[in-house]
Symmetry: C2
Subunit: 95 residues, 2 copies
C-alpha cells in the first residue's frame, strides 16, 4: 500500500475557482481500481493551499489514476489557476 499527499496552491484570487475544480477529484478517484482512500483538504490558515491525502494499493494504481480521464480533465482546467506546479510526494507510514 502506498500513500500520496499532493500540495496544490492556487494563484491568489483563483482559490474559489480552483476549489470547485478540485472538489471533482475525490468521488471518481474513490471509484478507481486500487483506490483505498482519497480525501481533499483546505488549509484553515491559507485559503490558497489544498492538500490531497491518498491511499493506493500499489504504484500501478497510483500511476493509472494520474492518467484517468477525470484527472486529466481536472489538470487541464486547474493549470491556469495555480501559483506553482503541484508538489506530489509519496510517503511511507512509520507508525
Amino acid at each position: 500500500m502506498i500513500r500520496i499527499m499532493a500540495r496544490i496552491t492556487a494563484r491568489a484570487g483563483s482559490e474559489g475557482e480552483l476549489r470547485q475544480v478540485l472538489q471533482e477529484l475525490p468521488g471518481p478517484s474513490r471509484g478507481e481500481e486500487g483506490c483505498l482512500g482519497y480525501e481533499l483538504f483546505l488549509n484553515e490558515d491559507d485559503p490558497c493551499e489544498f492538500v490531497t491525502v491518498e491511499q493506493w494499493r500499489d504504484q500501478a494504481a497510483a500511476d493509472a489514476h494520474l492518467n484517468s480521464a477525470h484527472v486529466v480533465s481536472v489538470i487541464g482546467r486547474a493549470s491556469g489557476l495555480l501559483a506553482q506546479t503541484p508538489l506530489i510526494h509519496r510517503f511511507r507510514q512509520l507508525a
Copy 2:
C-alpha cells in the same frame, strides 16, 4: 472534528535520531481523550521530512495533546534535531 497535519524537518544527519523520537508519538497520542486518528509518515523522496496526519474531536482535544507529557518530552528531545520549527496547520475536509 478537526484535522491537523504537521510537517517536521530534520537537520541533515539527524534524521535517524529524529525518526526514533517521533516514532514514540502515535501510540500514546491514539490513547488520548478525543484522538480519532494519528499517523506518522516519512517522505520517500526526502529522508528528512516527516509528516503527521491527525484527527481530533475538537480544538480542546488538539490543544490538550500539545501539552501532554509525552508530546512535551518528544519536543524537548527533538528540538536540537530540527532544521526548522515544525509547520503545524489545521485543515478542513472539503470532500
